[in-house]
Symmetry: C2
Subunit: 337 residues, 2 copies
C-alpha cells in the first residue's frame, strides 16, 4: 500500500484510493447520510419534491482537446451526474481558478463552449465566481461546477432497486474520452482521430424514461471508466454483474491505442455515456430508445445482474472463460477530467 501520509496522484483516479481518501477525510468529517454511498449526486427531500445536488472539479490537461474542452466538460460532467441520478438538470454554478497571465481569449473560448453545452443540455448557468492566483500557483485554469436538478414524481432510480435478472445496457463505445485526452497529450496519431465523447446525456436519459422502460439504476462511467462504475453499482446493489466482454462496444482506434499502451479500455474515462440497469422486460424498449437517440447509436445490452457471487463484476470472455473485472486501484491517466 502506498504512503498514507501524503496525497498521491492515485488518490485522484476515481478508484480504490480515491474512495479510501474520501471516506477517511470527508465522510469522517461530514458524517451525513446523503454521503454514505458517495453518490455523485445527493438526493435531498425538499418542500415539494426531491432535489439532486452535485459538484465536480475539472483539472483536465490540456484544456482544449479533440471533441471538447474544459468548459464543455465542466457542464457535461455535472449535467450527467444529475441525469444518472434520475433528475432533470436545471441550474449550474461555475467557479473558476485562473492562473495569472492566462489568455483572456482562452477564457472566453471556454465560457462560450460551456454556454453551448448548457444550451444543449437545457440547463441555466446562474451563478459563478472567479479567483486568480499568482503565476506558477495553478496550471492555467481549473473549473468547479455544481448542479441542481429535480427528480420527477414517481421516478425512483437507485442502486437498491437493482434485482438479479436486470439487464445492463451501455449507451455507446467505452474509453473515447480518456484516449482522446491521452492522444492530445502524447501527440499520438490515429488513422481516424479519436474524439472525446464529452456530451450531456440528459436528452438520452429522458428518452429512456419516455420509452416506459423500467430503469432501476444508472451511472456515468467517468474516472475509472466502465470498471469503476460497474464495481460501485454492484457493491451498492448487493448483486454481481456478469458482462459479456465481446458485447461491450469499444472503438477500433481506442482498442488499438489501449493494446499499445497496456491500458484496459474498460478502465478508461467516458464523458457522454450511460450505464443503465433495467428490468429484463424493459431491455428491448430501453435499447430501442437509446439507439434512436443521436448519442446512443452504438448502445448495447452487455450483461445482467445475478445473485451475489464472490466478486462484484465478472467478465465472460470471448472464449467462454470468466475473469474478474477489478475496481481500478489508482490513476492510470491523471488529469483526464
Amino acid at each position: 500500500m502506498p504512503d498514507q501520509d501524503r496525497v498521491l496522484l492515485g488518490h485522484g483516479g476515481g478508484g480504490v484510493l480515491t474512495k479510501r481518501l474520501v471516506r477517511e477525510v470527508f465522510l469522517a468529517a461530514f458524517d451525513d447520510p446523503a454521503l454514505e454511498h458517495m453518490p455523485d449526486s445527493a438526493i435531498l427531500e425538499i418542500e415539494g419534491g426531491r432535489m439532486a445536488f452535485t459538484t465536480d472539479a475539472f483539472v483536465v490537461r490540456p484544456l482544449f482537446f479533440r471533441g471538447g474542452d474544459v468548459g464543455r466538460l465542466s457542464i457535461c460532467g455535472t449535467v450527467n451526474d444529475l441525469s444518472v441520478a434520475g433528475a432533470v438538470p436545471k441550474f449550474i454554478s461555475i467557479a473558476a481558478i485562473v492562473e495569472e497571465g492566462f489568455p483572456v481569449a482562452d477564457l472566453k473560448r471556454v465560457a462560450l463552449s460551456a454556454a453551448n453545452a448548457a444550451r444543449e443540455a437545457g440547463v441555466r448557468v446562474v451563478t459563478g465566481d472567479t479567483k486568480v492566483v499568482e503565476r506558477g500557483k495553478a496550471d492555467g485554469l481549473f473549473l468547479a461546477t455544481a448542479g441542481v436538478g429535480f427528480v420527477p414524481e414517481g421516478r425512483d432510480v437507485a442502486p437498491d432497486r437493482v434485482r438479479p435478472g436486470d439487464r445492463v445496457l451501455v449507451s455507446g463505445t467505452m474509453g473515447d474520452h480518456g484516449i482522446a485526452i491521452l492522444a492530445e497529450r502524447e501527440g499520438m496519431r490515429f488513422k481516424t482521430p479519436v474524439e472525446s465523447d464529452c456530451a450531456p446525456v440528459s436528452g438520452l436519459v429522458e428518452a429512456l424514461f419516455a420509452s416506459g422502460a423500467e430503469v432501476h439504476a444508472m451511472r456515468d462511467p467517468t474516472r475509472g471508466g466502465f470498471a469503476a462504475a460497474l464495481n460501485e453499482l454492484a457493491e451498492e446493489s448487493g448483486v454481481t454483474v456478469e458482462i459479456e466482454e465481446s458485447a461491450v462496444p469499444v472503438g477500433r482506434e481506442v482498442r488499438g491505442a489501449c493494446e499499445m499502451l497496456g491500458l484496459d479500455p474498460f478502465a478508461v474515462a467516458n464523458e457522454g455515456k450511460v450505464i443503465a440497469f433495467v428490468s429484463p422486460e424493459s431491455a428491448e424498449s430501453a435499447l430501442r430508445a437509446m439507439r434512436a437517440h443521436p448519442l446512443g447509436a452504438n448502445a448495447a445490452v452487455v450483461g445482467r445482474a445475478v445473485g451475489k457471487r464472490e466478486r462484484p463484476v465478472i467478465l465472460r470472455t470471448r472464449v467462454g472463460g470468466e475473469r474478474v473485472l477489478e475496481m481500478p486501484l489508482g490513476e492510470s491517466l491523471p488529469r483526464i477530467c
Copy 2:
C-alpha cells in the same frame, strides 16, 4: 488601463477589474437574467418557492490562519452569500483540488474545520469531489463550494427595495479577515493579535428577521470590503449612500496595521459581517437584534441611503467634510479568500 489580453492578479480582487472580466467573459457567454447584476447568489423560482444558489472558489494563502482556515472559510463564504440573499442556507457541496504530496493530516484538519462551521451554520455538506494534480501544478489545496438555500415566503430582500431614507447598519468591525491573513503572511506582530472574523452569519441574519425589522437589502463585505459591497449595492439600488466615517467600527489593531501599510480598512475583506439596509423605522430594532447576537456585539448604524447624487458612496469625515468612497479597482491583497 492594464493589458486586456491576459488575466491579472487584479482580475481576482473583487473590484472594477473583476466585474469587467466577469461581464466580458462569463455574462457574455451565459446571458442569463439571473446573472445580470452578478449577485453572489442567484434567486430562482422553483416549484414550491424560491431557491438561492451560489458558488465560491477558495485560494486563500496560507491555508491555516488565526481565526480560521480554508475549510471554515469555504463554508462561511457560501453560507453568508445565501444568508444575505435572504435565504435560509441548507445544502453545501465541496470540490477539492489537491496538489500531489499535500499532507493527508492537513486535509483532515480542513475537512473537520469545515464540518464544524457547517454545524454552526446549520447546513449539511451533502456532496463533493476530489481531484489531484501533479506537484507544482497547484498551491497545496484549493476548494470550491456551492450552496443551496430557500427563501421563506414573504421575505423580499433585493437592491431594488432600497429607498432614500433607509438606514445602513454593519454588524461589526471592518477589515479583520484581510489583516489577519496579511499578518500571517508577513509575520506581523500585534499587541492583541488580529483574528479573522470568519463565521457563518446565518444565525445573525435570522435574528434580524425575527426582530421584525424591515430589511430591504443585505450584503457581506468580502473581497473589496465595505467599499466594494456598498458601491455595488448603491449602484444596483439607484441611490447614493452617505456614511459617517467615524461611525464605522474598525478595530484598533486593524486601523494601525492599515495606516502602516497604506491600506484602507474599508477596502479590506471581511468573512463574518453583514451590511444591512433597513427602513428608518426599523433601524432601532435591527440594531438591537444584531447587538444581542454574539457576532453583532459591535454592530452600528453607520449611514443612510439618499437620493442619487453624482457618486454612489460618500463618506462624511470626522471634520465635517465629504469624500468619495471609491469602488476598489483591482487587488490590494491577493488570495485573501
